[in-house]
């Protein structure tokens, strides 16, 4: 999948309480969750994010709770892909399972700034920073995890089997 979007840049250890605080977890409606995404850290995000914008974080993105509400909220904001130096493992699994591509690029993430425009091929993992001209390659997904991602998530994958 080829994507192009503007960057919302966040730092290291973005936890799931920041992505969606527990006080909003009395519902699992994606559109309701989207309204409060990133609220405690960045009140402007949910208000101003545009469909197609790309979220970029540092190390250990999505640490903390297992709440799948977190990647669901990001996806419901219209963000089609998250790029980070590294992801916390439950968040990573959840992203794959709900069909939100997550690209891990290590220290290269330092070369992406807020408002940069990226072109991303989620199939090959190639990321082009159109603002700076840099090109990065994400670590590939292992084995059948690629099949889950291609099926659009785990439920479709299981149903198709």
């Amino acid at each position: 999948m080829e994507l192009k979007g503007k960057v919302w840049r966040y730092g290291d250890n973005i936890d799931t309480d920041i992505i969606i605080a527990a006080r909003y977890l009395n519902t699992f409606d994606p559109q309701e969750l989207a309204k409060h995404c990133m609220f405690d850290l960045d009140e402007s995000f949910a208000r101003n994010v545009q469909a197609g914008d790309i979220m970029v974080g540092g190390k250990n993105f999505g640490c903390g709770s297992s709440r799948e509400h977190a990647p669901v909220a990001i996806k419901a904001c219209g963000v089609p892909v998250v790029i980070a130096a590294s992801f916390a493992r439950i968040f990573y699994r959840n992203g794959i399972n709900i069909g939100l591509p997550l690209l891990e690029i290590g220290d290269d993430v330092e070369k992406i700034k807020a408002e940069d425009v990226l072109e991303v091929d989620t199939g090959t993992g190639e990321i082009r920073n159109l603002t700076t001209g840099d090109v990065f390659h994400a670590h590939p997904l292992p084995g059948f995890v690629q099949e889950i991602a291609q099926a659009g998530g785990l439920i479709n994958y299981i149903k198709n089997k």
């Binding site: 936890d15 009395n26 509400h69 699994r93 998530g153 439920i155």
Partner: protein
């Protein structure tokens, strides 16, 4: 080549003679767990698959996060889970009055045990490594598929050996051990990896200490944390664990990518400053007094009977500081009742503390002790993230029950020995 404890459990449940780090395996699950926040969306996904539950005796549904229902929406979540549990005759569904915090009651009721493989739609599912099981947190979709198939895929994790030595001082708890470890390796120090505890120091740790330590493995990014099976484990699980179980021990040549050494005799009470569980400081090293507004004693990390005994011992003959609210939350109905029989609840109430029914409540900023702007709370819970327990400028300081109780009495972060 030798295998470590996590590899042995995963190999056994994948039907393989051996596995190694990095390998992808599909495993049969012994227990599948969800709570009132993660269960309802799992149930919705489960229904899309269109299959019956794989085994109604191996699913545990625990309404603990926002229950007894804090608002209408939370009541609706509980109802989705209750209706599902009744429809599918889920054996381990717990109604209010019989429920406790999930990671307190699953070990307590013997639903999880040695050598067993558990996944739960809650990140602190890693708690059951304390009883020599492999357990890890997953999201709602993994959980939905597990309820239908009884299986999950795993990437076999690399393992870090945590070698414990020395004698544990009397004023140190499991919480001081795990906060010290996270402070040493960082909140992503064990990312995607397993933490395997080893060494002569293990025997110094009670089952409560081990449950607290394994519970917070996730706060170092770990997939799981696991303890060896010894006399302490045996005493705890015998006559308690209902499924047949087979303990695991690491081979002498088991592979570890790193070894971390902790000498228990050198530990002193610690506290993790906002906003990461790895911001660990020794309480004795604090230069400026940190005044506090609230103390919470409870949670899946420190809501067990021994935790309450430790806190009560500090409170005996003292009052909660006049500017502090102290909230004590027994982790299960059994803990609640035992604490009552032992007179612990009298000690808390005499000291001027709130005593609540079991719930996760304030730990995740749900209810029962939300913080206002700028307020500071010493808490025996597991996370001190931005906005975790309330308004985004509030602050959470993580500590063990002895430090929390001393802080409640003195109105500032304090060591128990400061309470005369």
């Amino acid at each position: 080549m030798g295998m470590n404890m996590s590899e042995k459990i995963l190999a056994r449940h994948a039907g393989l003679a051996e596995v190694e780090a990095g390998q992808l395996v599909i495993c049969n699950l012994d227990v599948v767990l969800a709570n009132d926040v993660t269960g309802p969306p799992s149930i919705k996904e489960f229904e899309k698959i269109g299959r019956p539950v794989f085994d109604n005796a191996k699913i545990a549904l625990v309404p603990d996060h926002f229950q007894p229902a804090k608002d209408i929406k939370s009541a609706e979540l509980a109802k989705i889970m209750r209706d599902f549990a009744h429809k599918h005759q889920i054996k381990h569904y717990f109604e209010q009055g019989r429920v406790g915090i999930e990671h307190v009651i699953l070990p307590e009721k013997g639903i999880v045990g040695p050598g067993m493989l558990t996944i739960g739609a809650d990140s602190h599912t890693c708690t059951y490594g304390a009883v020599n099981g492999f357990s890890t947190g997953v999201g709602t979709t993994d959980l939905a598929v597990a309820m239908a198939t009884g299986k999950a895929w795993f990437k076999v994790p690399e393992a870090i050996k945590v070698e414990l030595t020395g004698k544990k001082p009397a004023d140190i708890t499991g919480k001081d051990v795990i906060l010290t470890l996270i402070g040493m390796i960082g909140v992503d120090g064990a990312l995607y990896k397993s933490l395997e505890f080893a060494g002569e120091g293990v025997k110094e740790l009670s089952m409560t200490d081990r449950l607290t330590i394994a519970n917070m493995a996730i706060e170092a990014g770990a997939k799981n944390g696991i303890f060896p099976f010894d006399e302490v484990t045996k005493e705890y699980v015998e006559g308690r664990v209902e499924q047949p179980y087979e303990p695991v021990a690491p081979d002498a040549d088991a592979k570890y990518v790193q070894t971390v050494n902790i000498n228990l005799s050198e530990l002193t009470p610690v506290v993790a400053f906002p906003h990461l569980p790895g911001n660990t400081k020794r309480v004795a090293s604090l230069k400026e007094p940190v005044g506090i507004d609230q103390v919470v004693i409870g949670s899946c990390t420190n809501g067990r009977l021994e935790d309450l005994r430790i806190a009560a011992e500090v409170f005996k003959g003292h009052k909660v500081h006049e500017h502090v609210r102290c909230i004590v939350i027994p982790g299960s109905q059994w803990v609640y009742q035992q604490a009552m029989h032992e007179g612990l609840l009298d000690i808390f109430i005499d000291a001027g503390a709130v005593v609540s029914c079991p719930t996760c409540g304030p730990c995740l900023g749900g209810y029962m002790g939300i913080l206002a702007a700028g307020e500071k709370c010493v808490s025996t819970t597991n996370r001190n993230f931005l906005g975790r327990m309330g308004e985004k400028t509030s602050e959470v300081y993580l500590a063990g029950p002895q430090t929390a109780a001393a802080s409640a009495i003195l109105g500032r972060i304090a060591e128990p020995k400061e309470v005369a």
